[in-house]
């Protein structure tokens, strides 16, 4: 239907109020505040230029956080995509009780990140841990928790996040896979194409926009990884699992260094927007193949 001006106003106003009041306005005010010495309980505010940002960038702890999140994103996102795609691909053809399979495989994503952290704490640490149980069966002595090991802590966090997010990726990918025209699959099958060829020639080209969108979500949310770190390791051991979001949280609400917290939060946002620009460029360019 053709919308009148009044229609447009009615349609867009609620969203505009909600988004500007609770997301855009705070974000922008926060951005301005990072160029000053503002903090909620300080009495005098003056212009500080880029000094808040420089202080954050010079903080070695933040450097470690950047390194950790780079490792995290580089491993977690591809693993989530590959495992999620694998699950969706297995569910592509009708099987008995597909609805139930789908639901059961979505369960890990339904667990809240915080409950997830609590759960894995007990699964990995202590007398009733799954690790000790497994090593007991293998006749080994009890194993030390990987969370307490500086080299294993970050890979463990990655694994836990993959466990939680891969099912969600499968959930998002399956409708896309199911909507690939049947003839395309049939052609490939009759041509005797292996399943690898089918994935490359049929599935991936049709799923390109969807895969890009999912990747955008995963990268953005991974860059803000906080909940699991907060509950499971508190950034430790040492600073082996400090992420930028944890750094920001800790600065703002832990040690009351508001300007550093806000400035590092804006660096995370800037990174996400950077990824967003790449995403929009990729999604608007039709597949080159």
């Amino acid at each position: 239907m053709r919308l009148t001006h009044r229609d447009r106003f009615v349609l867009f106003a609620p969203l505009a109020v909600l988004l500007s009041g609770w997301l855009v306005l705070p974000a922008l005010l926060g951005l301005f505040a990072t160029f000053s010495t503002y903090s909620p309980f300080s009495t005098s505010i003056h212009f500080a230029g880029l000094s808040n940002y420089l202080a954050v960038i010079r903080d070695p702890q933040f450097g470690v956080a950047i390194r950790n999140i780079a490792v995290f994103v580089a491993f977690a996102v591809p693993l989530e995509l590959v495992i999620g795609f694998g699950l969706a691909y297995l569910l592509r053809r009708p099987i008995r009780g597909r609805g139930l399979w789908r639901l059961l495989l979505l369960l890990p994503w339904l667990v809240s990140p915080i409950a997830n952290g609590v759960m894995w704490h007990f699964l990995l640490v202590g007398a009733n841990s799954i690790l000790d149980f497994a090593s007991g069966w293998l006749g080994q002595a009890s194993v030390a928790s990987p969370i307490g090991d500086a080299r294993l802590a970050l890979p463990t966090i990655v694994a836990i996040e993959v466990w939680r997010e891969a099912p969600f990726v499968a959930f998002l990918l399956l409708p896309g896979l199911l909507s690939v025209p049947k003839e395309l699959w049939e052609h490939a099958t009759l041509d005797g194409a292996s399943w690898i060829r089918q994935v490359y020639d049929v599935a991936l080209p049709s799923l390109r926009p969807l895969l890009l969108a999912i990747t955008m979500l995963l990268v953005g949310l991974s860059l803000g990884t906080l909940d699991v770190v907060l509950i499971l390791t508190g950034g430790g051991p040492g600073s082996a699992t400090v992420t930028p979001a944890f750094y920001s949280y800790d600065q703002a609400f832990g040690v009351n260094n508001w300007p550093a917290g806000a400035a590092s939060a804006w660096l995370i946002a800037a990174a996400v927007f950077g990824v967003g620009v790449v995403y929009i460029r990729l999604v608007r360019r039709p597949a080159s193949r």
Binding site: M1, L3, V10, L11, P14, L15, L18, G21, W22, L23, P26, A27, L29, P40, L87, L90, R93, R102, L104, L105, L106, L110, V111, S112, P113, A115, V118, M119, F122, L123, G126, N128, D132, G136, W137, G139, A166, P167, F171, L172, P175, G176, S179, S206, A213, I214, L217, L223, G224, T225, D227, L230, A245, Y249, G261, A265, V272, F273, G276, R284
Partner: protein
């Protein structure tokens, strides 16, 4: 043809085997937790490890003793997530319809921009938000939590609903307009019924997302209003020597509402599609 059928059969068996393996791997941690909540714990000191503990419901009762306000928090969480999801879907549905029926330069940029906004981690904006909400006297109120959670989730909802609405043929709308229907009648009597599955699926996904939010309610509240994730966080950080079966019971309880929702509406959930260019 025979070889093709044999191959199909073999493929089907491999598929079932792989799916079963995946299911075991993904559900093992949860099964462990559910068993623990019923008091069934492994005894790792024996060789080989054995299972101990009679099945009991006591740990579910202990949750209420260890955290006296747990049931209250459960109710708050449910109400807040439901209100936030409803509000977000309402605002997003209107805007997505407006977007789908408008043509202007930069429209696709705006639509994709919503997805980028949806990818923005909460940490990027909660610090100033907590400050602003305190100044607006909305901190630590139910309304404040609901409005913020709704705002945080609208970008994803707009993106998804725009995808669903864009594919809708305008025929029925035009017919209704010719009959003299205004905007709200077109929306309520034509557009909404046609997109109801997608709208319902979006609402359910948003409910799960809202239910699981930690950072937003954490920084907006200071005790008056408490959601389950915040309570868990407090509980776990202040009393690290938490008893595992009790924690497991709390965990199972917090999973039950979303699992039931998913179970009842799993047919509807299949209509959740992130991308505008796929799905029917």
């Amino acid at each position: 043809m025979r070889t093709l059928r044999a191959r199909r059969r073999r493929d089907a068996i491999i598929r079932i085997l792989l799916l079963t393996a995946a299911l075991v791997a993904f559900l093992l941690p949860l099964t462990w937790t559910v068993l623990a909540s019923f008091g069934s714990l492994p005894d790792n000191s024996t060789r080989p490890p054995s299972w101990k503990g009679p099945i009991t419901f006591d740990h579910f009762r202990e949750v209420g003793i260890a955290e006296p306000s747990f049931w209250q928090e459960l109710a708050t969480s449910t109400a807040a997530a439901a209100c936030a999801a409803a509000l977000a879907v309402l605002c997003s549905f209107l805007a997505a319809f407006g977007l789908a029926r408008s043509r202007f330069a930069g429209k696709s940029l705006l639509t994709e921009g919503f997805l980028v906004l949806a990818s923005l981690p909460a940490m990027a904006y909660v610090i100033p938000l907590s400050d602003l909400m305190r100044r607006a006297h909305l901190a630590d109120t139910f309304a404040g939590v609901v409005l913020t959670e709704a705002a945080v989730m609208t970008p994803l909802a707009v993106y998804v609903l725009h995808g669903a609405l864009r594919q809708l043929s305008t025929e029925w709308e035009e017919a209704a307009v010719l009959d003299g229907a205004g905007l709200f009648r077109v929306l309520g009597e034509v557009v909404l019924p046609l997109t109801a599955p997608a709208v319902a699926a979006t609402a359910i996904v948003l409910f799960v997302l809202a239910w699981n939010l930690l950072l937003v309610p954490l920084v907006l509240t200071s005790g008056e209003i408490k959601t389950v994730p915040v309570a868990m966080m407090d509980f776990f950080t202040f009393e690290r020597e938490l008893d595992w079966p009790t924690a497991a019971a709390a965990l199972v309880i917090s999973l039950v509402p979303v699992a039931i929702l998913g179970g009842v509406f799993h047919r509807v959930l299949e209509r959740f599609s992130l991308d505008a260019r796929v799905g029917a």
